[in-house]
């Protein structure tokens, strides 16, 4: 799934592009969410014990509805405006990957059967999770639920991540939320992970910013796409023996996959025959998406009766809990008109240097990007007296020194 090892590669080489954020800080933001990925997660996690899953009276699984309903409410309550994007027809290049997944699933189903026969609970749990498949019906159920809740639903012509990225690029969404790293390869300016995790897990949201990532990796977007293809994507094989780290080095050295093919030793690395990297690259660069003007995105009031009849009568949800949840959706709707302060004021830099010396966590390649020393910048209050400062002045030397701070030569005087 996604791009192999990209998270670690970025943590090692572009820590500035990754930032932990509080869930609340996305208040008022429009977020494009890869729905299929979420449904898959819900089917695995929500209301499961062994092979038993949440079902309605007819015996149909309802885990995905349960998950979708309550997690979406959590987003709405935090003032987040979700846009759910559903997968369409996968591109042909993905067939191989899909076939692989499907055979893995078949193996898991077989494994599950054996485990049930043997009564091995641990294996039952493991294989039943692996044999989960999101069906068309699951998708349709969720679309119906979301529409009743007044949440916009978009059906992508092809890959949902690509559509999400397009929404984000055109400014219709602030960020893309998925667990799949190829959102970045599709060019989403901002990408969030763990947004849909349950609050009980207390996982902070990880925000990736592509501009900063490219800056830190010191490569262009086209080169980043090549890097992802080399690391291993869903669309084609990669060159054996070249992982993320090597790929990054080679891309920096030779500029593109073509350059690499020309220059690397053919004996050492085996380049796959009929390697469709050009097509894969095109899928990332010009994916099949709906143009931005053709879609209207609106958050409406929830359809109370519809929700009750669908969830309570149709799927055996508790009437009490659904009514309470609808109240929450309505209350959240009122909140949605609150503006954010940073849409009026833009970030400025500050000159203060932390008194607290940040220890060794700032060594390069550290996995904790948030532990690095702060950039030198102008203190906030100076904004009132000084002309607007735009951008942040970076001292590259600061970043490398873990022990000594460079004295800041500029003195800001106040009247």
């Amino acid at each position: 799934m996604g791009i192999k090892g990209l998270t670690k590669l970025l943590a090692d080489n572009a820590p500035r592009g990754m930032k932990e954020q509080k869930f609340e800080s996305f208040f008022g933001r429009k977020i494009a969410i890869d729905a299929s990925m979420s449904i898959y997660q819900f089917l695995i996690v929500v209301g499961r014990s062994g092979t038993e899953m949440l079902t309605n009276e007819a015996g149909d699984v309802t885990s995905h509805l349960q998950g979708m309903f309550y997690r979406t409410i959590r987003l709405l309550e935090a003032g987040i405006k979700p846009i759910y994007v559903f997968d369409g027809q996968p591109p042909d290049l993905k067939n191989q990957e899909l076939a692989k997944r499907s055979s893995k699933r078949a193996d898991a189903t077989e494994g599950l059967r054996l485990a049930v026969e043997a009564g091995n609970t641990e294996d039952i749990e493991k294989f039943s999770k692996r044999s989960v498949k999101v069906t068309k019906q699951h998708n349709e159920d969720c679309k119906k639920l979301l529409r009743l809740m007044g949440v916009p639903v978009i059906e992508a012509p092809s890959e949902a991540e690509a559509q999400c990225a397009a929404l984000c690029k055109s400014g219709k969404a602030y960020a893309v939320a998925s667990e799949d790293m190829d959102s970045l390869t599709f060019g989403a300016p901002r990408f969030l992970r763990h947004l849909m995790d349950p609050s009980s897990k207390k996982v902070p949201v990880m925000e990736f910013e592509i501009a900063k990532i490219l800056e830190d990796l010191n490569i262009s977007m086209d080169q980043f796409i090549d890097l992802c293809i080399l690391s291993g994507c869903d669309y084609c094989d990669s060159i054996r023996g070249i992982g993320g780290q090597t790929a990054l080095k080679l891309i920096r050295q030779h500029g593109s996959i073509e350059g690499i093919i020309e220059n690397i030793s053919k004996e050492r690395y085996q380049i796959p025959e009929d390697w469709p990297y050009v097509e894969a690259r095109r899928l990332f660069k010009e994916p099949n998406v709906i143009a931005e003007d053709e879609q209207e995105i609106k958050w409406a009031s929830p359809d109370e009766e519809g929700l009750v009849s669908f969830l309570v009568n149709g799927n055996g949800f508790s009437a009490d809990r659904v009514t309470k949840a609808i109240e929450k959706v309505k209350a959240a709707k009122n909140k949605s008109s609150q503006g954010r302060l940073d849409s009026f004021f833009k970030p400025a830099a500050s000159t203060s240097i932390p008194l607290k010396r940040k220890g060794t966590s700032c060594t390069l390649g550290s996995l904790k990007p948030w532990g690095r020393p702060k950039m030198a910048s102008i203190p906030a209050f100076s904004c009132w007296y000084l002309p607007r400062v735009s951008g942040s002045a970076r001292l590259p030397s600061l970043e490398l020194s873990s022990k000594h701070y460079v004295p800041f030569s500029r003195v800001v005087c106040f009247s």
Binding site: G339, D342, A348
Partner: protein
Amino acid sequence: MLELRLVQGSLLKKVMDAIKDLVNDANFDCSSASFALQAMDSSHVALVALLLRAEGFEHFRCDRNISMGMNLGNMAKMLKCAGNDDIITIKGDDGSDTVTFMFESPTQDKIADFEMKLMDIDSEHLGIPDAEYQAIVRMPSAEFMRICRDLATIGDTVVISVTKEGVKFSARGDMGSANIVLRQNTTVDKPEEATIIEMNEPVSLTFALRYMNSFTKATPLSNTVTLSLSAELPIVVEYKIAEMGYIRYYLAPKIEDDEEETKPEA
């Protein structure tokens, strides 16, 4: 190296009360001229800006621009341990990961040192441009607090409208609605009881009362409060801190739902 000695220590306690409900963690920025803070609440809807100028301290030493990340809840707990007449000194050494609050009793017979751990806070500073506001209202701070509290019993939001006649605060909710109008009033015995309205253009904006009520926690710091409003901008609620500086709150207005289209984000 940093050493700030404040004779009226109770002021710092009041400042903490005015901030800690809005913001959990924040960086204090100290320069040779002032001790300041700028922080947003977790949902990035409100911002608090504090400025205490060096002149207001009995002793103020800060060699370079320093920022100190503090948990405000913990800081408030420590400052609660200071007596109301105590002199408070804030001390920090270069490279140390703690800050020390020293409390001296007025008679100098008791000295307490409280040392607090600092934090790494990765916060965003916002540049706030100087703006001409369409309307500026100065009024007694206790009156403003009363109005916000009363309206919060009626509804969640307050509409603040300034016209030539005066300033109107209104709220509506399930049980009904409320309107409170204050007229310009400069003929009072004490200047701090006056209500002064400067208006270039009539303006009307809607705000969440929850935030307004948390701003009024600064009421003990000043007898008067100034509200600055413009149609295009967040409201500024300012409490002057006598001879030292100010505490200012910025709150983004509520926008009508039809204006749903996304503003381009920078």
